[in-house]
């Protein structure tokens, strides 16, 4: 049994950022465990640009963003254990991991940060009828094939779902010589960043069919085509609009699920809406000494926010190690009308790690102009005007310790405002 101060599970952007910040804060012994042979997580296959605009003030590719953090981690003496899979996590912070060099490795940690990321929803999760031929991939798997392994998943492609990975793959496959027939989205709006709609679809005249879905997959050995149809306001397919689209490949970009098997094993409370742990002001889960950040906590659209959140988790660990795991009472933080969720789900104002507390939230539907209200038991304590909110773009706001002092609950509400639109930066 090894005894370690801080163990971080996952060496992607969240794990690396947390490790770097933890070392900067003076935590001596930081171990990152990753199941792959190289650190960097999913950034390794995200060869497109668009990373780092907030953190580095420049537009980097995924591998560049990862390499900057890998270098920092190495320079600061972070230990990274690769090719190692954590198979067990207990509520008293014991880890069992396995690799081909040492076999089973048992570690007792003083603190743990969960940074396992997320995985893609598959065909089973959305129950598409039809045959089960070869040629159906999640968009991220196709991305790995093209960018890391060097294989094309197919020639004639239909993409279901307009999440960012799907949009990025529409462009990537087009550049590599495939024909992307269309991107089909069941919602009346896209789930991707506007920048990606423009530069990945409009640039290559790839049609985006909103309020449409795939209702059948054809082909016995290999995909031969899909039937798509428009959907009504209840998202039920209108079969009179069904049309056959010949293709040999169907990519699915239909959402991401935080990967919380280990968290559940340790008895950590999971939020039904985010799919990730319930956390407090220092991103500590319901199990003392176990923290969470990045896509395992909730799915992010920008890696820069993952890094910021991971740094907050590292500060959380530092405060936990300093106060010896003192018990705190929390006030509840809830999402009201217009919002799907708010993180953290509970806070203790006295124990905030900084003068300001970051709150992350997602809206329920797109709004051109909306007002965000923060309510306590005393009424509205803060309101902010926001423009162009979209479910695909996370809202992040900071509230100061003074505003929060003495409150017994917090509720966030987002209300649409009139149609007057201002141009913002």
């Amino acid at each position: 049994m090894q005894n370690r101060e801080l163990v971080i599970i996952g060496g992607g952007p969240a794990g690396l950022s947390a490790a770097v910040e933890a070392r900067r804060l003076g935590i001596e012994d930081v171990l990152v465990i990753d199941r792959e042979s190289e650190p960097g997580g999913i950034l390794k296959q995200c060869i497109h640009t668009g990373f780092g605009l907030h953190i580095f003030k420049e537009e980097l590719t995924g591998p560049e963003y990862a390499e900057r953090f890998i270098r920092k981690a190495e320079a600061l003496g972070v230990e990274i254990m690769l090719d190692t899979m954590v198979i067990e996590l207990t509520s008293d912070r014991r880890i069992v991991a396995v690799n081909g060099r040492e076999g089973l490795v048992e570690i007792q940690a003083k603190a743990i940060i969960l940074a396992m990321g997320c995985r893609e929803r598959t065909r089973g999760a959305i129950k598409i009828p039809g045959f089960r031929p070869a040629g159906i991939f999640t968009a991220g798997t196709a991305q790995r094939f093209v960018n890391i392994e060097g294989y094309m998943p197919g020639c004639e492609i239909v993409i279901l779902g307009s999440g960012d990975i799907g949009l990025i793959m529409a462009r990537r496959l087009t550049l590599e010589g495939a024909k992307v027939r269309c991107v089909v989205e069941i919602m009346p709006y896209s789930n991707g960043l506007t920048r990606n709609i423009v530069q990945c679809l409009e640039d290559y005249s790839i049609p985006l069919l909103l309020k449409h879905t795939v209702v059948n997959i054809h082909g016995k050995k290999r995909v031969e085509g899909v039937t798509i149809a428009e959907v009504d306001d209840e998202m039920k397919p209108i079969m009179e609009t069904a049309q056959f689209i010949p293709c040999d490949t169907l990519l699915l970009s239909v959402g991401l699920i935080p990967e919380n098997e280990l968290s559940r094993m340790a008895g950590i409370e999971i939020d039904d809406v985010t799919g990730g742990p319930v956390v407090n002001q220092r991103l500590e889960t319901s199990v003392p000494g176990i923290f969470a950040c990045g896509n395992v906590l909730h799915v992010h659209d920008l890696v820069d926010f993952v890094t910021q959140e991971a740094m907050e988790a590292a500060r959380g660990v530092a405060s936990y190690l300093a106060d010896g795991g003192k018990k705190y009472d929390h006030i509840p933080v809830t999402a009201g009308e217009g919002l799907r969720y708010v993180l953290p789900q509970r806070i203790n104002v006295e124990a905030m790690t900084g003068e300001k507390q970051n709150f992350f939230m997602r809206c329920a539907r797109p709004m051109a102009r909306a007002r965000l209200y923060v309510e306590s038991e005393r009424g509205v304590i803060e309101s902010r005007l926001l423009s162009h909110v979209k479910p695909s773009e996370m809202i992040s706001i900071k509230l100061g310790r003074d505003e929060l002092k003495g409150v017994k609950m917090l509720k966030f509400i987002l209300q649409e405002e009139g149609d007057k639109i201002e141009c913002n930066d």
Partner: protein
């Protein structure tokens, strides 16, 4: 003989407003820009219809058979993206490679370098 008017539609990506900007072109000249809410939108639309530029990201082969992610060090004309991809498909790089190292010069005659976006030992 009247010059034909061409209408182009551009989605602005300068800010989250995502304005749908209409550009009217007559005889190769922009005669009207509408639908934008600010000057930056007009500038963006002008570049988009005259000389749209993009950073190209792709991969090239390493001698060991693996793939090396690369990008153009500056944006190149959008119209040359496919030429650039084709030219880069024959490139093979010998490791070790450092992130930022130039692996190919003057891609598609643009004068722009292609650089590695990760290191490889």
């Amino acid at each position: 003989m009247s010059a034909t008017t061409e209408k182009r539609r551009v989605t602005c990506i300068v800010c989250p407003s995502g304005c749908r900007i209409n550009v009217e072109i007559e005889g190769g000249k922009i005669i009207e820009i509408s639908g934008n809410q600010c000057k930056r939108g007009a500038d963006y639309a002008t570049t988009e219809v005259t000389q749209p530029m993009r950073v190209l990201t792709t991969t090239v082969r390493l001698e060991n058979g693996r793939l090396l992610p690369v990008k153009t060090s500056h944006p190149i004309p959008k119209a040359l993206l496919f030429d650039a991809i084709k030219e880069l498909s024959g490139v093979v790089v010998k490791p070790p490679v450092k992130m930022g190292q130039v692996v190919y010069s003057n891609v598609a005659g643009t004068g722009v370098d292609v650089v590695a976006t990760r290191s490889w030992d």
